[in-house]
Symmetry: C2
Subunit: 119 residues, 2 copies
Amino acid sequence: MSKSVLELTPVQAVACCSPLTREPLSAETAERVMPLVKAIADPVRLRLLSLVASHADGEACVCDLNDAFDLSQPTISHHLKLLHEAGLLDREKRGVWVYYRVNRSALGDLAALLGGVTT
Amino acid sequence: MSKSVLELTPVQAVACCSPLTREPLSAETAERVMPLVKAIADPVRLRLLSLVASHADGEACVCDLNDAFDLSQPTISHHLKLLHEAGLLDREKRGVWVYYRVNRSALGDLAALLGGVTT
């Protein structure tokens, strides 16, 4: 594992490396991809990711997502922020709302890391 | 979501459902797949999964995995047990050792759930 991987974002680190079943994942890479995995290791966040991705035009604001959960808007906004910080959601402020969109590259990289077994 | 999904194992629940980006994941399905996601949301377990998969003949016992970690054998065995309970590792006792093997269907299903964006 070259040292430069340690300086990459989680998304880039996943993208650079072989699927985990082909060769042993290094400790550094495992730590590096953890933010992505931990971000989806929560049922609310996994559903938010799914709701944003499948929303009209592939984007949604917290105002679109409130109704699906029995949670306060600040709580949902907090989970959206965690998904954004992990690199799984991009965001853009328009007017009074922040609109979220799935970072398809990040999610695809994570799937590819796990998906080496099926090829 | 049919009620029967609630009675499936985590692996079956993932396999039955559309990738999360195509349609909103239900609360029930999100809860159902959580054991799989949480099982890999730990750097030691993600590395163990990778080490077992990439080991000779695709299987390994704790005796093969000790050297890769600065952890006690009971701790590694505990992580292997959690991966087994989540459905990601199959296991078989032969002689004094338990041999683990990646459940490729489970890992593939998890990848497919995440991978809908790339197709």
